[in-house]
């Protein structure tokens, strides 16, 4: 793992700790897409749109990305990542990793909530990474050892596991937790 240093006081300590800006080089992504999320630790939708900035910790807002939008990571500085949306309105900017999800759930339609990957039905809520988006389909790979890989409808990708009679494509959230 890269050795990167904290700002501020850490900068002073950087030399003795073996840190340098040059060391902070690494691929910003292993090739997966990320889901932009406005949800908190509990899954509650705290922000319907996530702001992106013109640099790490910058106060200048470049744009806003809807919660649940897939994006590609093109650069990184520590926990701040530069993303470009790969669907919806084209937006690019820097965002704290707190607002990104590299693993998502596959949730099919009610009543079984079973998603189709290729032509095969999978476990509701299957945890996957998304590799590509094309023509309303996503290329996914399972995180666990089941070895699932294939194309699935874009609308089976969501942040949260299945819930409720409609399998939770749009969890209501409010006043119930």
């Amino acid at each position: 793992m890269r050795r990167v240093c904290h700002v501020g006081v850490a900068l002073v300590l950087a030399a003795s700790a073996g840190c340098s800006a040059e060391a902070a080089q690494e691929r910003p992504s292993d090739g997966r897409l990320v889901l932009v999320s406005g949800r908190d630790d509990h899954g509650m939708l705290a922000e319907e749109q996530v702001e992106v900035y013109d640099g790490p910790e910058s106060p200048t807002v470049l744009g806003r990305i809807d919660d649940g939008t897939l994006a590609r990571v093109v650069d990184a500085e520590g926990q701040w990542l530069q993303v470009e949306t790969v669907e919806g309105d084209p937006v690019s900017g820097w965002v704290d990793d707190f607002f990104l999800r590299g693993e998502v759930r596959l949730v099919g339609p009610a009543p079984g909530c079973e998603p189709l990957v290729g032509n095969r039905s999978q476990e509701p809520g299957l945890l996957v990474v998304v590799r590509a988006v094309r023509g309303g389909q996503v290329l996914v790979e399972s995180v666990a050892g089941s070895g699932v890989r294939g194309w699935a409808p874009r609308d089976v990708v969501q942040e949260l596991p299945p819930q409720g009679p409609d399998c939770g494509e749009d969890p209501p959230g409010g006043h119930e937790h």
């Binding site: 700002v7 006043h175 937790h177």
Partner: protein, 571 residues
């Protein structure tokens, strides 16, 4: 790749940020112990519930000054410097412990579970930006930008541990796009960067500067070792009774909550791995168990709730005080849990939220055992799934709540923003008496115009009872809207009280009921009811019990004793 460059903003933050870089010093002396110069009550048990909005932070100070902090939650992952709950709580602890501006040595710090609102957001050695609040900020040395508190033992549930997958001698958390496989999950359902950061800090390398105050101090509560009982001094103890969902099965009855379920389709909530603790001093007992759930259900966020509270009932036993699990969520504080622990007092730690905390069902569960309810804020949420939240009869509007025992735990008092309420340990009810034992005694359903209908209640107990906020209703799920008893309505011991209302509420003929409730609608709890079925209107007659609170006469009577003792026989 873009290189790191300090911005004006980050430079401005430099004076307050945490900097866990560089080697730790070899030996770290303890900070100042809780001093007798502080505000805590010596020789007794002290419990402080700090107002950290929608989160938790509580400090226990034992009779000899031993201290135990349970949780220190934050509102925002990126809260920094002086704008954190950690900074505010540290100031309060310094004041309680009388150390002035000097950091305090805490004998124990315990994390109930790994959510931001309970532990905050830890910094990481690989961060290029400034993070670090909650317990991390409190226990990080001042030289690394923290608040400099020290700890004797940092107690953690066993969510996971660090594995140095890339052999670089630090714990990498990675990013969502380039994850680092350096946290081995042990007992988890849902996971988060909050949890990864916490585990990296607690179980990271020994020479890391931000770990100087916790190195060698972490006690991980695993499933293979007995849960400990902690000595709070002077005979006070904190017995850990649950961690990691140990021994509890998921809804299918065969899959343990414990274990790594991070890739399960519908994983258990992190809440269900909470640490449960029973704190005792003399006869006084207090139960706190993080965000443990009390039912089997699937949340609207797609993870499962599991009935951890059922596993707590036996080891907790009867207590005087409960801190409501999960900020008063309706998925916690099950009726079975509350009824079994039978508290006199309940504390709900909540702030402005949209989770429905506290729920009407939970508030009614505590009302049903006549517990006095204290909140760190009021209101927190304004509605739950049943409708507007009924805060009637609760105590404290804003700020911390303080409990102290006296006479070795035989008595205790709770101090809040408007006063102090005193209790006798083991008396069974709060100062409100036990309204669940109030009975419908007599009622008039068909008065001659212009008379009012009325229902007489009787209090058969030897204590006065506050029934304010309770309801009189007719038939369940129909008829007129429940009629709420005015706040402050107190029925003396053995006394009666008559609730009058305009005619037209109770049916004169046909099937009808008269019911005494706490809550209304979906959250109602029925404490007493009587049903009748009349073929014709019985003007100015009543139904009554045989004597006060006796068996019902199932025939209408002309012997009306409104507000006075009932007849001792039926017509």
């Amino acid at each position: 790749m873009r290189r790191w460059k300090p911005s004006l903003l980050t430079a401005a933050l430099a004076a307050t940020v945490l900097t866990p870089v560089g080697p730790a010093s070899a030996a770290v002396p303890n900070a100042a112990a809780c001093s007798t110069a502080g505000g805590w009550k010596q020789g007794e048990l002290n419990v402080y519930w700090f107002d950290v909005d929608q989160g938790d932070a509580q400090l226990v100070v034992g009779p000899t000054g031993k201290t135990m902090l349970i949780d220190l939650g934050e509102d925002a992952y990126n809260a920094k410097g002086v704008n954190t709950n950690a900074t505010a709580v540290a100031a309060q602890i310094r004041n309680i412990c009388g150390t002035g501006s000097t950091p305090v040595h805490l004998d124990y710090v315990m994390a109930s579970h790994h959510h931001l609102d309970h532990i905050g957001y830890a910094g990481n050695v690989n961060d290029t930006q400034a993070y670090g609040n909650g317990i991390y900020q409190l226990l990080t040395p001042t030289g690394s930008g923290g608040l400099g508190f020290t700890v004797g033992q940092l107690i953690d549930r066993d969510g996971g541990t660090w594995t140095d997958a890339n052999s670089d001698s630090d714990c990498d958390i990675g990013t969502s796009a380039a994850p680092a496989p350096e946290v081995d999950w042990n007992n988890v359902g849902t996971t988060s960067q909050t949890g990864r950061r916490w585990i990296c800090w607690l179980y990271g390398p020994a020479n890391q500067a931000d770990r100087a105050h916790i190195e060698g101090k972490v006690l991980r509560l695993t499933n293979s070792t007995a849960l400990p009982t902690l000595d709070l001094g002077g005979g006070a103890t904190a017995k850990v009774v649950q961690a990691n969902g140990k021994g509890v099965m998921q809804a299918d009855g065969v899959t343990p909550v414990s274990g790594d379920h991070s890739t399960q389709g519908v994983p258990p909530s992190e809440n269900d791995y909470s640490v449960g603790v029973r704190i005792a001093y003399g006869p006084y007992g207090y139960a706190t168990a993080g965000d443990s759930d009390g039912e089997y259900d699937t949340s609207t966020f797609g993870y499962s709730y599991n009935d951890i509270e059922a596993s707590l009932i036996g080891p907790m036993g009867k207590v005087e005080t409960i801190r409501a699990n999960h900020h008063g969520s309706g998925h916690s504080s099950s009726n079975a849990f509350v009824n079994s622990l039978d508290p006199q007092t309940a504390l709900i730690s909540c702030g402005v939220n949209s989770y429905g905390h506290p729920s009407n069902r939970t508030l009614n569960a505590f009302r049903a055992v006549a517990a006095d309810i204290f909140l760190t804020n009021n209101p927190c949420d304004t509605a739950d799934s049943t409708g507007p939240i009924d805060y009637s009869g609760t105590y404290n509007n804003n700020g911390h709540v303080y409990l102290a025992t006296s006479n070795g735990g035989a008595n205790y008092s709770v101090t809040y923003d408007s006063g102090t309420r005193n209790y006798v340990t083991g008396a069974g009810t709060g100062q409100s008496g036990d309204p669940t034992r109030v009975r419908i005694n007599e009622f008039s359903m068909a008065p001659t115009s212009p008379g009012n209908e009325w229902v007489e209640l009787v209090n058969p107990t030897s204590s006065q009872v506050d029934v304010g906020g309770f309801y009189i209703d007719d038939v369940a799920a129909g008829g007129g809207a429940p009629k709420q008893i005015p706040a402050g309505t107190v029925i003396p011991a053995g006394g009666r009280w008559v609730f009058e209302f305009s005619s037209g509420f109770l049916n004169n003929t046909g099937a009808e009921s008269v019911r005494f409730l706490s809550g209304s609608g979906p959250s109602e709890v029925v404490h007493d009811s009587y049903s009748y079925n009349l073929g014709s209107t019985q003007s100015d007659k009543v139904f009554h019990r045989i004597g006060d609170a006796g068996a019902w006469c199932d025939t209408v009577s002309t012997n009306v004793t409104k507000g006075s003792a009932n007849p001792t026989s039926c017509p």
